[in-house]
């Protein structure tokens, strides 16, 4: 049998056995009834103990959302989402919020333990497990624990659930919430603004370099529940922070919706590095189940010489619709986007970035690596816009696609708009396949097919993986290999 045919059979015969995070946690939940009305929003707002201004803000978003339609321009197909058939709030039954880690439900601690996310500070400090990373753990609609807050507070860093920030730091939240992604920016951001439940809030004061990596770990657990988290990160003048985000969900036959909004704000000379390893349940080999991941992420380089860098490794979700972007407002500000998007079986990804150059001498770099296997579809969609004031702006885009097998698709859709004649915009794109020569060469040296593909794919992604913080890079490499299981020949 020719190797290609054999490859395809192998791909088909293997379900996504590699998904290790498909378990479900049994825990008493406080769940809102299905459906979305003003009452749902009132309930969420009441559960969070929110002030009136935020409830009004949510209502305005809801009103805008009702007038909007789902975007149709992305190269993704799915059965219509019934927005009235979703629970918009699900939280483990407990006190309003644990005062200390000792009060966190042991069942939840065990869940994060299983996911490899240690929430026990003492164990970490004793060097027993894991790296020195502060974690905010979001379980369905609520943050269940945030570690190392006391340590961070010493340097003036605020790292807490956003619902708590609304209560404790209302001025900061009110000043910045929705300034980067306006409520009516798009269908999913409007939905998120109306019903967002939890997420992380970070504030780094002027001149402070955050003493440890910050991380949020999102876990969807409850059935038929959407996750709508909201993250807001502010780096004040001269501040620096590196933030990591990880996501998993149980293995289920039905689709679940995840529509997050992330806003980053960098003031003068501030630096924000935002890294994501997205591993939501991708559905099975036939395309049953999996997360619909419709996410709006945008960073505003508001200050001069500020820098925002997005790095993402996207291996999960049935559908990924995501364009982490940079608005380069401050003169001399820098935006970066490093992406690995991998699709296997029936997964669909339409992902990329927008680099909006407004200030003078702004620079942006885009490196996108798309890997498609099985019958999946993988689209890079990117916009580079140079405004009339952006003299001396520069962009370099490198966009590479790797195909495994011959039933998957890779598409590149670049949009370039320049209104300043002094700007320089470069776009390079390549498409390649893992050749049978490469596979045979590796196997003749003793490598299994999986090892060979893992090696080649990791080589293909190297430029992006080296942008990840050390602990994440190793995880990401393993994840790429696991997600490609059985896709080769």
């Amino acid at each position: 049998m020719p190797a290609v045919a054999e490859t395809l059979e192998t791909v088909e015969s293997l379900a996504r056995s590699g998904y290790k995070f498909g378990f479900e946690t049994t825990i008493d939940m406080d769940v809102a009834p299905k459906g979305l009305t003003e009452d749902t929003i009132r309930l969420i707002s009441a559960r969070k103990g929110e002030p009136a201004w935020l409830l009004d803000w949510r209502f305005a978003a809801f009103a805008a959302w009702r007038k909007m339609e789902e975007p149709r321009w992305a190269r993704v197909h799915h059965t219509p989402i019934d927005y009235q058939d979703i629970h918009y709030y699900a939280a483990p039954k407990a006190k309003a919020g644990p005062a200390s880690l000792d009060e966190v439900d042991p069942e939840l601690l065990a869940t994060y333990e299983k996911l490899g996310i240690p929430l026990k500070e003492r164990a970490i400090l004793a060097g027993v497990q894991g790296a020195n990373v502060a974690v905010d753990a979001v379980f369905d609609s609520v943050s269940v624990a945030t570690t190392f807050r006391a340590t961070l507070a010493k340097s003036g860093v605020i790292f807490c659930p956003i619902s708590e920030a609304v209560r404790e730091h209302p001025d900061l939240v009110r000043q910045y919430l929705g300034t980067v992604v306006p409520v009516a920016d798009n269908f999913f951001s409007a939905l998120n603004s109306a019903v967002f439940t939890d997420g992380s809030f970070v504030y780094i004061p002027p001149g402070v370099r955050c003493p440890m990596e910050l991380s949020t770990y999102f876990r969807i657990n409850a059935r038929n529940t959407g996750q709508f988290e909201r993250t807001l990160i502010i780096a004040d003048a001269g501040a620096q922070v590196s933030y990591l985000e990880g996501c998993t969900a149980p293995q289920r036959d039905e689709n679940q919706l995840h529509a997050a909004v992330v806003e980053l704000i960098a003031l003068d000379d501030a630096k924000i590095k935002y890294s994501t390893v997205q591993n939501w349940y991708p559905g099975d080999a036939e395309g049953r189940g999996g997360i619909y991941n419709f996410v709006t992420k945008r960073g505003l380089c508001r200050g001069a010489r500020s820098r925002i860098s997005w790095t993402q490794v996207e291996t999960g979700s049935a559908i990924t619709w995501k364009y982490p972007s940079c608005v380069l407002e401050g003169d001399g500000s820098v935006g970066e986007f490093y992406s690995v998007a991998m699709t296997n079986h029936m997964q669909q990804a339409d992902t990329g970035t927008k680099m909006i150059h407004i200030g003078r001498d702004t620079r942006s770099t885009i490196v996108s690596k798309g890997i498609s296997a099985g019958k999946s579809d993988n689209t890079y969609r990117g916009l580079v816009r140079i405004g009339p004031r952006a003299s001396g702006a520069r962009n370099h885009t490198q966009c590479d696609s790797l195909l495994i097998g011959d039933r998957c698709g890779a598409h590149t859709v670049p949009y370039i708009e320049s209104r300043n004649p002094s700007a320089k915009v470069e776009h390079e794109a390549t498409t390649s396949k893992i050749s049978e020569d490469q596979m045979f060469y590796c196997r003749a040296r003793g490598l299994s097919q999986e090892d060979a593909v893992g090696l080649i794919v990791n080589g293909f992604c190297k430029e992006v993986l080296k942008e990840l913080p050390m602990e994440f890079a190793v995880e990401a490499q393993k994840l790429l290999a696991v997600s490609l299981e059985g896709s080769v020949g």
């Binding site: 054999e6 490469q438 080589g459």
Partner: protein, 249 residues
Amino acid sequence: MLEISGLAASVEGTPILRGIDLVVPSGEVHAIMGPNGSGKSTLSYVLAGREDYTVTAGSVRFDGADLLAMEPEMRAAAGVFLAFQAPVELPGVNNANFLRTALNAIRRARGEPELDAVQFLKLARAQSKALAMPEDMLKRNVNVGFSGGEKKRNEVLQMALLRPRLAILDETDSGLDIDALRIVADGVNALRRPEFSALVITHHQRLLERLVPDRVHVLAGGRILRSGGPELARELETRGYGAITAAAA
């Protein structure tokens, strides 16, 4: 010991090998010579297990085991090594990382402990030096941007590290200058031991001056037409293949 009997193989429906009988005892080096298109490379690919080469008849035993039933990586683990005529480029894959992954895969299969990065680098540096290879070849991506000679030397380096029990060299000497040729020959000679054998496919007598074979076989039209001692290679050098292929016709 390698025993090939009645081996026939085709590529995309075209028969290339038409009944090969060949025994390479342990400890011996055999050379295979022959005109272009005679099936020399096909033989090496079939022995290493390339999938688009279909075996239509015959058998191959390696130390008594059915080699043809094994996946390519199992053959490598069993000690078969093919030095490619056209080594393949692996963009983004660091050469040292590739070599270590390969060596550890084979060590695992043999039940030997794996080497960590430090142990491996020490070994790889020593071997590179012995083969007069610039050390930066270990840091570069596998065969990417390598000159023809560097690619061939990289194959010899892999062979030296993996220490196979059967090395198949598919025209490893082609396109090499006299110094590189000496490196290849010395690389194989360094592996010579009672439990090692080699099948050296070449067009040229000059490799066989430094790498003296125990037997020389002439392959043409998918069959072995003549076998002899090292003197057969010299005869071919002066008289060409014509006399032998004509006599066989």
